[in-house]
Point group: C2
Chain length 313, copies 2
C-alpha cells in the first residue's frame, strides 16, 4: 500500500492507496486529516505522526506501506524529494526523503501540490480523459497537466504557471510585478487584498457583497471570473487539455463561481466561432468539496519512486 | 532516405534526409523548391513532380525513398494523412497518402506545417534543448512544442494555438471574433489589414514607416512586438519550453524584429522578479532565413510512419 500526503497551509490530508491497479484504478482504503505543523520540523512531525494513524485506519501494520508521496506548495525538481520556497508552510528548503525516509525505510518522493492534485484528479476522472488539466484556484493560481496518465512538467518543472500570464495591460498590479496577471484578477490573496475588509472568507464576502449590489465587490467578482475564464482558455489553447478540472479553496463557492465562469465562456464563444469550436464550457469540471485528489496524486507520485515511470518532458 | 515537403501558400520546400541517424542528427542530402500549385490537384502535382527532381538532386533512384512527410497549413489529426481547412492552398480536405501514396508505394504522413517546423527546429538545434517551442510568425500566429524529441499535440492535436489567446480586452478585434488576440496584434494578415496601404511586404512597410516617425505605423509595430513578447511569455509560462525558436515570414525582419521583442521582454523582467527568473530573453532564438526546418520536420514525421514513434499526448 502507498501513502500520499497533501500538506496544506492549515491542514494536511493523507490517504492510503491500495497497491493493486494503482495507476488506472486507485482505491483509497483509508484517509486522515490533521492540522499542519509550522516550519520544516512541524511539517515533518505532522507527516511522521500521521503514519501510525493511517496504518490503524487502514487496519494494517505500517510496514505494509511501500512508498510515500508528499504534495506541498513550493518548487520540486522532477523526480526529487526536496521542496523549496514553501512560503506558506514556513519552509525555505526541505529534503522530505532525508527527513522522513530513515524513520520508515521506504522510498519518499515530493511533488508540487498542484501537480499532485492534477495527477490525482486524472486518476479520479478515470480513463475517460485523454488529457486533463487541473486549475488550482487558491491563494495563487496555477495549473498542472496530465497527458496519458503522466504529469507534464516542461523543461524546468514549471509548466502550467498560468497565474502570471497577463491578460490586460491595464489590469491590476500583480505581486509578481506585472500588470493584469490572471493571479492579480483571480488569486485569493490578490482579491482579498484589494477587497481590504476583514473576514475569514474574503472571497465569499466579495461574492455576497456583489449579490447585494456593492459596486466594488461587483467589479472584483467580474475580474475574478474573467481571470478564471481566461485561464481556462489559455490552458485549452496552449495545452489542448481534454478536460479542465477546477479545484482549490475558491471552488468552495461551487455553482456561485462555476455559473458565472461558464457564462463568460459562453459569451466569448458567442462572438467567436473559433472559441465555440473548442466547446470550452463542456470541458470544465469542478473537483467535489473535500476531494482527496491532491493526497491521492501524491501517493501515485510516491509509487513512481518504485517504478520510475514519471515523464520529465 | 526520407522525403520531407513543406507546402506553403506560394512555394513548396522539399528535402531528402539521409536515413542513418535521422532522429538525432538528420543529414539533408538534397533540397529543392518550386511554386505551389493551387487546390488539391495542384498541390498533388507539385509533390509528385518534385520527387524525381529530388532523386536527381540526391543522386539516387526514387526507389531509394522509404517514406514521405508533408507539412501543410491546416488541421491534421495525429498520425494521419488527411489535411483539412488548408484555406491558403485552396484545399478543403485532402488525404495526402491516398493522393500520392499509390504513385510511390511508400508510407505517407501529413502534419500541420507549424508542428513540422517545430520538430525540424528541434532537430536542427541538436540535443542541446530538453524542450523547444517553435513560434511561427506569419499570416497567423501559432506554436508547436517538442519535448524529448517528440511533438506534443494535446488532446485534439491543437496544442500551441497561442494566436487566439487574448492579451488585452481593449485590443483590436480579431478575425476569430475575440478582442485583443495575440494574432490580432501580431499576425501578418491582421497587421497588414489595419495598415491598409498597398505593398508587397506590408509588415516591412510598417516597420519602415515607424522608423520614419509615422504614428500609426509606430502603434502597429509596438502592438506587434507586444504580441510576440506575450506569445513568448505564455509559451514559457504554460509550456515551460527551454528554448523558443521564432520563424515564419515576419522573422525575415531579423534584428529589426528581434531587437524590440527582446527589449520588451527585458522591460517586463525589469519590473517583475518572477519574469526575470525565467530568463526569457536568453531562451529566444531566430530560425535562420531559408531554414529547411519545416521540410526537415516533415521528413521526420514521415519517418514515424515507419516507426510509429510519435507521441499523441
Amino acid at each position: 500500500m502507498r501513502l500520499g500526503f497533501d500538506v496544506g497551509g492549515t491542514k494536511t490530508d493523507a490517504v492510503v492507496v491500495a497497491s493493486a491497479g494503482t495507476q488506472d484504478d486507485p482505491r483509497i482504503v483509508a484517509r486522515a486529516r490533521r492540522a499542519t505543523g509550522w516550519g520544516a520540523d512541524g511539517v515533518v512531525a505532522t507527516l511522521l505522526g500521521m503514519v501510525d494513524e493511517l496504518a490503524e485506519a487502514a487496519g494494517v501494520p505500517a510496514s505494509t506501506f511501500t512508498s510515500i508521496g508528499v504534495g506541498m506548495p513550493g518548487q520540486v525538481a522532477p523526480g526529487a524529494s526536496t521542496v523549496t520556497h514553501a512560503v506558506n508552510l514556513g519552509i525555505d528548503e526541505l529534503d522530505v526523503a532525508r527527513a522522513i525516509g530513515p524513520h520508515l525505510g521506504i522510498p519518499v518522493r515530493a511533488e508540487n501540490d498542484v501537480k499532485a492534485a492534477a495527477r490525482g484528479a486524472y486518476a479520479l476522472h478515470g480513463a475517460g480523459a485523454s488529457s486533463l488539466a487541473y486549475l488550482n484556484l487558491g491563494t495563487g493560481i496555477a495549473a498542472g497537466y496530465v497527458h496519458g496518465g503522466r504529469l507534464w512538467r516542461g523543461a524546468h518543472g514549471s509548466a502550467g504557471e498560468v497565474g502570471h500570464m497577463s491578460i490586460d495591460p491595464a489590469g491590476p498590479l500583480c505581486r509578481c510585478g506585472q500588470r493584469g496577471c490572471i493571479e492579480a484578477f483571480s488569486g485569493g490573496a490578490a482579491v482579498a487584498e484589494r477587497w481590504g475588509r476583514p473576514g475569514a472568507l474574503p472571497i465569499r464576502d466579495v461574492f455576497d457583497a456583489a449579490d447585494d449590489g456593492d459596486p466594488a465587490a461587483f467589479l472584483l467578482r467580474r475580474g475574478l471570473v474573467y481571470g478564471v475564464a481566461s485561464a481556462i482558455r489559455v490552458i485549452v489553447l496552449v495545452g489542448d487539455a481534454e478536460t479542465v478540472v477546477l479545484g482549490g479553496g475558491i471552488t468552495a463557492l461551487g455553482d456561485r463561481l462555476l455559473g458565472p465562469v461558464l457564462a463568460e465562456l459562453d459569451a466569448s464563444a458567442a462572438s467567436s466561432p473559433f472559441l465555440r469550436s473548442l466547446r470550452l464550457g463542456e470541458r470544465v469540471d469542478l473537483l467535489p468539496p473535500e476531494s482527496p485528489a491532491a493526497a491521492l496524486g501524491a501517493a501515485l507520485v510516491g509509487a513512481d519512486s518504485e517504478q520510475e515511470a514519471v515523464f520529465h518532458g
